[in-house]
Symmetry: C2
Subunit: 439 residues, 2 copies
């Protein structure tokens, strides 16, 4: 921006503290890269005296982030408060209205109010950068916004939640149950005390909503996303997937279909030899399929103070390298008022193979009854395998049957499963995991 | 740049023709993204009448690329001629001197003259973009330049040559010899009639030289790179690697050591479960290790008209989104006149495990003589395996011995191999492949 950057940071949790600490450590390098003085001048957080291992003495303190946002002390506002509305929303809006560039790591805020805030930023000629909001240290926002200018995206998918990927990796490698792995994740600080937001797929959905808008030039629509979490993935599923040469991953997928854009978050069986299957632990990954490039694949640190702070600092550096009065690149790649509304692809139109795990009564005729229902619905089976009863089942009269279907539609499959359920053979809810081969 | 972009393209081979074709196809999308009119106005190539399946009628024709470069018809010059000096060098220099922004895909040119040209561009406030020069469609230049502002890179490595990776993948998957796979690559147009530049590692070295400069803020020094190609990788090596849970890849590696920066290009055995081992065929990949992010991994299309053209178009779009009179971001991340000279890391200081394949006389005492030489040099062995004589060996008195060493230095290992050679047991040159576990 050529004039000095005077930065205000609201929110001093893990990420905010890391940004402050790194800024001091890396100041010289940043100035060399940006060729412009830049410094943090003011901060705001809920509790002033909390121990953060950083020295805040040289910064102006604000109790109220909204006051900081609009203050003349700063010309760049960093929002690290979190939350889709409330203080974060009001502060970002105030900052933009007051003519401050904004950097945020807040995916919930943007998934709900991204278009409105982008329009406001663009109308004022300001930058609204949010690299840290999706996949932490992987620069996927910049790549979608700037590196694929000539390309048309057909699909974007990824492992966008480190907590879920950590749990699934642990289940596979340690042969532990979902509950045990969740507990480990909580002990290590990878999962919240209330883990629902992560493990039920909502965090992934927020990030997918932003990637979809960038990839397809469409408005953000969280409601269009089908969401299913990993809570009911069992060790039997993980083991059977392994026998089939697959791993189970929680993916967010957005794909252009004949009927619109399909967005979904759910567990997917991917071939073990695929790049995305190699992504382990809290690591994130994003794959972007375009007409010109085929698949571009990225993996890296998805969360944690340093990785997220690194993305925030890169966003700040981009502002520093920009120019006063300059008409900035649009927040979502194309001007926010030209982001297109889109048709949600027909529900249950997804086609592909399916992994079906059924706990059934161990009696004569069960196999034949199952296969008859599949045949009636024109579902062809790649394999049908009987497995020892799941570890949680002690009744010796039950058994586990795993069906792998060839390509079919979800609507057809659900019809068959309803019929099987009505036949009274199942002693537990059917497990259904989609198998995808494009990975 | 707010004023219309008037683009001149020199070189209409595969990439140049693809840029022209895509520009016409994607014009509307580009204008929407850049919010600035942009068009190709002039072209230059060696033969005007060559069949390219593109219509050149609306462009001004130049027989001489240097005349095009300096012409007032254009304000952006795209260099797709190739070659480290001659016409490409003179044209780029003339374009910058005349105040034109430059986009080039020419790694040889930049590996030899990058610092000089960057200084010229920066002194004139011009952009010199070269995303297409390294790893085609993978936006690694932009990421190193813009996304890792706060980070310190400790290592960058990658599969940077699609021809070599195609050959190695084919050898592994089809169990064919190096020569047969090279022939296939030539038939498919993946390898040149004279393939030396690719298979001897020079192309990889050029690209590594540019990545090193961006990653470490150092001057470009091609001479500091140790280069070894894939010509002497045999099917026995590939098979033995597989038995050891490894694949052989030609990697370019630049790493910061205690004594300086080490840069090398040679075949490396990497664990089959690593992300880089999954990169098959002509695909490229780059991994960047930094203090803040750990490993950031990228893979995608490394060559081909569309992928390279896509990178060229993204570079053009970056110019379009920039601003007249604006002090642009430095070509290599920091101002070219502040790029630091660096010490080449001590030769043969690389430490790690080694795969050694020896063709030896089948006589009593050979094993004991080999292991004695290793022990004398304090090299501890992870395994020693006798294999059937290599397919090319018909003498039944020879056998193949594979040694896997624990971590040792290259100097020590070479000393042991010299002693083994002098003992007169070898009937062929020893094969040595470095094993690296960080992947």
């Amino acid at each position: 921006m050529s004039e000095a950057l005077r930065i205000g940071i609201a929110g001093l949790g893990t990420v905010g503290s890391a940004v402050v600490r790194l800024f001091v450590e890396k100041a010289e390098m940043l100035i060399r890269q940006c060729r412009c003085p830049l410094q943090i001048v003011a901060v705001s957080a809920r509790h002033r005296r909390r121990e953060r291992n950083i020295n805040l003495d040289s910064f102006i303190w604000y109790d109220n982030p909204e006051e900081l946002a609009a203050s003349a002390d700063i010309n760049v506002f960093i929002e690290l408060i979190g939350g889709e509305s409330g203080s974060a929303y009001r502060a970002v809006k105030l900052a933009l209205e007051a003519g401050r560039h904004v950097v945020t790591a807040n995916k919930a805020l943007l998934a709900h109010h991204g278009v409105e805030l982008a329009q406001l930023a663009e109308s004022k000629g300001l930058l609204l950068n949010f690299e840290a909001a999706v996949a932490g240290g992987i620069p996927v926002i910049k790549i979608l916004r700037e590196s694929l200018s000539g390309s048309k995206t057909s699909r974007v998918y990824g492992i966008l939640n480190g907590t879920c990927n950590y749990i699934l990796t642990q289940m596979e490698e340690k042969e532990l149950s979902f509950q045990e792995c969740l507990k480990n994740a909580q002990d290590l600080g990878y999962a919240e005390a209330d883990p629902s937001f992560d493990i039920e797929g909502n965090d992934t959905a927020h990030k997918l909503a932003l990637l979809t808008s960038l990839a397809f030039g469409t408005v953000i629509s969280l409601d269009n996303i089908y969401v299913e979490g990993i809570r009911n993935i069992s060790l039997v599923d993980i083991r059977t997937a392994d026998e089939l040469g697959c791993r189970i991953k929680l993916l967010g997928v957005a794909v252009k279909t004949n009927t619109g854009i399909e967005q979904r978050v759910h567990p997917i069986m991917v071939p073990t030899s695929s790049a995305i299957a190699q992504v382990k632990g809290v690591t994130n990954a994003v794959a972007i399929e375009t007409d010109l490039l085929g698949e571009l694949f990225l993996s890296g640190a998805g969360a944690g103070g340093n990785a997220t702070a690194s993305a925030v600092i890169a966003d700040i550096a981009d502002i520093a390298k920009s120019h006063p009065g300059f008409q900035h690149g649009p927040v979502f790649g194309i001007p926010a008022n030209t982001l297109k509304p889109y048709t949600k692809s027909k529900t249950r139109a997804h086609t592909g193979g399916y992994f079906i795990r059924l706990s059934v009564q161990d009696r004569i005729g069960t196999f034949s009854s199952l296969t008859k229902r599949m045949a009636e619905n024109d579902i062809s089976l790649e394999s049908i395998v009987q497995r020892p009863a799941a570890e949680t089942q002690t009744m010796h009269e039950s058994k586990t049957v795993v069906l792998i279907t060839h390509q079919t539609t979800e609507a057809t499959l659900r019809k068959a499963l309803t019929a099987i359920t009505q036949d009274g053979n199942l002693i537990d809810k059917a497990q259904m995991i989609r198998i995808e081969r494009y990975c």
